[in-house]
């Protein structure tokens, strides 16, 4: 098991390096992507551009730039400095991480609980009105993009521009430690919007997975033992969750992608907005830092899921 974990972590680090290399190449070969040009003002002298390139280290060969970046990252955990504000990228990320974590963790809880419970009810009452309604809603939520759903929510429920002014709208986010209640209410809509798509996927997966396990022989055995239906269903759910659980690691990536959009729509000062603005202004170090953060999240989540799976399924453990 230890060997397995070490191997997975090493592979994870390799993937991080590859992701870094890819973002390096993508952003530097894009035609409009020269940050020195963007910073030099209107009709710049070529000399000025060269100067700025020198300051930012852009005149070195790409491979050297990459090597320097990797060295700084792995030796000092230094992600460089923003081309714009000169602030340390690590500082920027640390400052904005709480907002993004509040959003994504809350949404993940909502998504798993909501998705699983709707899926379970649907599986047990298959082809009922409730089942059709929830599966139809799930399909709808699955199909609409987050930014659109976010805008619809704002137009419906935000207390500034909404039709029913019941929830704080965009730009009302405050830190948890500053005012827990305001923190909570300002995040209700973003949580729902961000969770909706994934919850819908999970509801549908759970429905089909549970419907399948409820036909298993051991469920018949459980009934033959004279267990209460509740206990029988619990046994089914226990098995049905396993295959869905393995998808959790992948779904975290979808969630982070969605967070960029949701943070933008609701104007939450998180990593997503940071990343979005950095892309707009070719602020390479910030883009690089946020991409690295997101990919580490996904890699760590997948390793954790795989290890946890061994505990969920004894048959895997013994292989």
């Amino acid at each position: 098991m230890i060997r397995y974990i070490i191997r997975r972590v090493l592979i994870g680090i390799m993937i991080l390096v590859i992701v870094c290399a890819l973002t390096f190449v993508f952003f530097r070969v894009l035609p409009t992507g020269n940050p020195a040009l963007l910073r030099a003002g209107r009709d710049p002298q070529p000399k000025l551009i060269k100067e700025i390139e020198g300051v930012l280290g852009l005149n070195k060969p790409l491979i050297v730039q990459f090597w320097d970046y990797m060295k700084e990252f792995f030796l000092h955990f230094n992600l460089g400095y923003s081309y714009y504000s000169q602030e340390s990228v690590r500082g920027l990320i640390v400052e904005r991480l709480p907002a993004t974590l509040s959003l994504t963790v809350g949404a993940a809880i909502l998504w798993v609980l909501g998705g699983l419970s709707v899926g379970i009810i649907s599986a047990l009452r298959r082809h009922s009105f409730l089942d059709r309604l929830s599966m139809g809603t799930a399909l709808l939520l699955l199909s609409v993009p987050e930014f659109w759903l976010g805008l619809v929510f704002l137009l419906l429920f935000a207390n500034d521009i909404g039709k029913f002014k019941i929830l704080p709208g965009a730009g009302t986010y405050v830190g948890l430690t500053y005012d827990p209640w305001k923190w909570f209410t300002s995040l209700i809509m973003p949580w729902i919007v961000l969770a909706a798509g994934s919850a819908a996927v999970y509801a549908r997966l759970m429905r089909s997975s549970l419907a399948e396990t409820m036909r298993e022989d051991y469920i018949r055995t459980a009934r033959a033992k004279g267990l209460r239906e509740r206990a029988v269903v619990r046994q089914g759910v226990r098995s049905a969750i396993n295959p869905i659980f393995t998808l959790l690691g992948l779904e975290i990536g979808v969630l982070l992608g969605g967070a960029v959009l949701v943070e933008t729509v609701f104007n939450i000062p998180g990593i997503g907005v940071l990343n979005y603005k950095a892309i707009q202004s070719s602020d390479f170090p910030v883009v690089q830092g946020t991409v690295l953060l997101a990919s580490s999240f996904i890699i760590i989540a997948n390793i954790v899921v795989d290890i946890a799976y061994a505990y969920l399924d004894p048959r895997v453990r013994f292989q």
């Binding site: 018949r220 055995t221 459980a222 033992k225 004279g226 226990r238 098995s239 399924d313 048959r315 013994f318």
Partner: protein, 363 residues
Amino acid sequence: MSAAAPSPRGEPLLRVEDLRVEFPGEDGIVHAVDGITYQVFPGRTLGIVGESGSGKTVSSLTALGLTRRQGARISGRILFDGQDLLSLPEDKLRAIRGNDIAMIFQDPLSSLHPLYKVGRQLIEAVRAHRDVSRAAARERAVELLDLVGIPDPARRVDEYPHEFSGGMRQRVMIAMALANEPRLLFADEPTTALDVTVQAQILMLMERLQRELGMAIVMITHDLGVVAEMADDIAVMYAGRIVETSSAARLFATPEHPYTWGLLKSIPRLDGPREQDLVPIPGTPPSLINPPSGCHFHPRCPYAQPEHSRIDPALEPVPDEDQHHVACLLDSSTRKGLWEQLQAGNTPEQALAEVAAAEGAAT
């Protein structure tokens, strides 16, 4: 076996009367069980024999209220201890399931929950019907594993089903079924998924437990060897009906139904002459949606007469044998003649010719 016939063995523990189970399907109604009647006496074993799809499993699942398919239409009566299981409300039936009546299934691996330790599954079975502490139930679980001959039960109680061999898993299933000392055990093909040597062990175990606990067993199988070993009485099912029923000894000595002959002649025997060929039953089991008209067996019966496709035979006592019933349109004397010819090693065609000649000479 008519329901009203007085029995020399006292009151039956289970009496199934004219049970019918139908499933509406896409292609029509599946008549899985088509009016069967049988009884099981305390401490005795009834073997229900038939090919797959003959309705033998459905009939027992129905008794426990476990008929899984939605929209099953069930009629008839299943009397256990005087109460009709078919009309019991779900919670009353649940109190009987796993308590007075238990069941074991064909595939012990898929019938055990793969993610729970066997101990937990045994404890659950005990606590479903008895108000005992977890610790006491656990002790009982160890005791049960010991009872069914699993070595080192105190350690194995904490293992998962996949850590057990096939035979040991079936022992666990049996232990689970015995948790509350049932009076009746349905065993649905309990040895089919096991190696032959293990099969014998499991059958011996069941016999021992039956002696010790005095329970009645309904043994559902396609394997006449298994019922020969275990059963006191035998019911042969074909296409959702019972076509022949009698004591085991009598059924093997003087079977009356051509389908039973077919079953007996298609078993390989180690002690028989090597050159004697097995005689398979021709054709395939009939559709349960559109069963053949008349006698359901007539399309596969080598002895069928033209009128057998019109007349539906009833299960009637064999002359002078009120415990032996058969549903066959052939004459009793013809049947005896045919069986003698088959016993002598003749093929069904030869047997038919011989008997026809003998009858021609007699008239």
